[in-house]
Symmetry: C2
Subunit: 250 residues, 2 copies
């Protein structure tokens, strides 16, 4: 398996066509994308292309935002933006606000981000409104130009219970299922495996995250080559989410 970061992706502006930039960068890298590749895209450039920047000075915090700001010591304007995308507050503590995003997953600050966002201070970036749709659009545009449809993952970094350190997580996808079911596959001794599901897309997201870094030299697009997968046209990122009633850790 090879992971190839695409070099020299420019700073993204609202309205940019990411597929076109990915194709240009892959050509510079002498890389011919195929249907057997997987294209992993950092949510940050998707959000920027989709114009999801918010100027905090223009935000009017609600009473609930003021209340949570007092608990978390975060600016009330930032908390208000987080609440726009929040289905449910999971934990609020000093310097910590963990929520269930309206998209279903649980993460800090509903993915609203300060870093690498803008040269202008006081700007924050919301996640794409519909990351599965973003992934589908990139994939469709790649197919239109290249004639092949590699799966596309839109990924973010999530903190975790129990363990320090953020890890990549697929928040939008097109073309492959987030969970691979190995039940029934024979094991080394021919017995059916008892292991159940593998977090396939999230492990790909984590692998790509290693190369995206977070800093100046980072590349926001990584091509994964040489990893067999089952194509799946109907899967969505939310297929990975445990329903609340099956989740023991809220």
């Amino acid at each position: 398996m090879h992971l190839i970061p695409l070099p020299n992706i420019p700073l993204i502006q609202p309205g940019d066509n990411l597929a076109r930039l990915i194709i240009a960068a892959s050509r510079r890298a002498k890389l011919t994308l195929t249907a057997a590749d997987i294209v992993v895209v950092a949510q940050k450039i998707v959000s920027k292309a989709e114009g999801r920047l918010v100027r905090l000075a223009e935000v009017t915090p609600s009473a609930r935002a003021h209340e949570l700001a007092a608990i978390t010591h975060k600016p009330a304007e930032l908390v208000e933006v987080i609440l726009w995308d929040t289905a449910e507050v999971i934990r609020a503590k000093p310097f910590l606000l963990i929520v269930q995003h309206k998209l279903g997953f649980i993460s800090a600050n509903a993915g609203v981000d300060h870093s690498n966002v803008s040269a202008e201070p006081g700007m924050v970036l919301r996640l794409p409104a519909n990351p599965d749709a973003s992934a589908r659009a990139i994939r469709r545009d790649l197919a239109a130009e290249l004639g092949v449809s590699p799966p596309v993952l839109v990924i973010d970094s999530h903190g975790r219970p129990w363990r320090f350190g953020t890890v990549g997580a697929a928040i939008g996808l097109s073309g492959l299922a987030p969970v691979q079911d190995l039940r029934g596959t024979p094991d080394l001794f021919g017995e059916p495996l008892q292991i159940t599901d593998v977090g396939f897309a999230d492990q790909i997201a984590g692998a790509a995250s290693l190369l995206m870094g977070q800093a100046a030299e980072a590349s926001p697009v990584v091509v994964v080559r040489g990893l067999p997968f089952e194509p799946n046209e109907s899967a969505v990122a939310a297929d990975v989410l445990r329903p609340k009633e099956m989740d023991l850790f809220r």
Copy 2:
């Protein structure tokens, strides 16, 4: 970044020297290991080499094991083996037993495994007694033979709150730190990054897991090449663990 599964690692027997088998397999793959590589080893072969198989018929369950077996519908002998390695039971429900392992991490069944364990029925496999020591021993033996010391990760697959699917997790390591701190690194616009820690070793574990699979064609050793890392001689796997008092999700 390349991930190279080492082919044709034989079925492991108690007492096998894993470093010697890794070197033989890498030579067959025409791969010369260097200090810039990272060697990722599935815990299962480490446990087998260390003789951690248990015959359930020889286990006498305690009262507590019977009690948890009734709740979880697991065999009391299996629960007893799980309890040997358990510091604290986190959740017990039908078909589910999540514990804090004596090594500190939280996972299902304290990592005690049925699959790919033995051709003899009724055998289960405990995790290595000290996976950091196992990683150090493999690394020391590699260095003795090859004159170079690539970091070694011993990995397992863990389930997660909130999301379906198991993902790789580093339970033992030698030569690199499990968490990379990016605080203070300048971002794209020259501002210090606010992101804190990256789950570096776990993301490597997840990437390698993609190639280890769980089934007959799986390779239990994957070499990661082309990923920059900071060498660290004192890090241990437990450095990734949130102290109980800092953990909001137990």
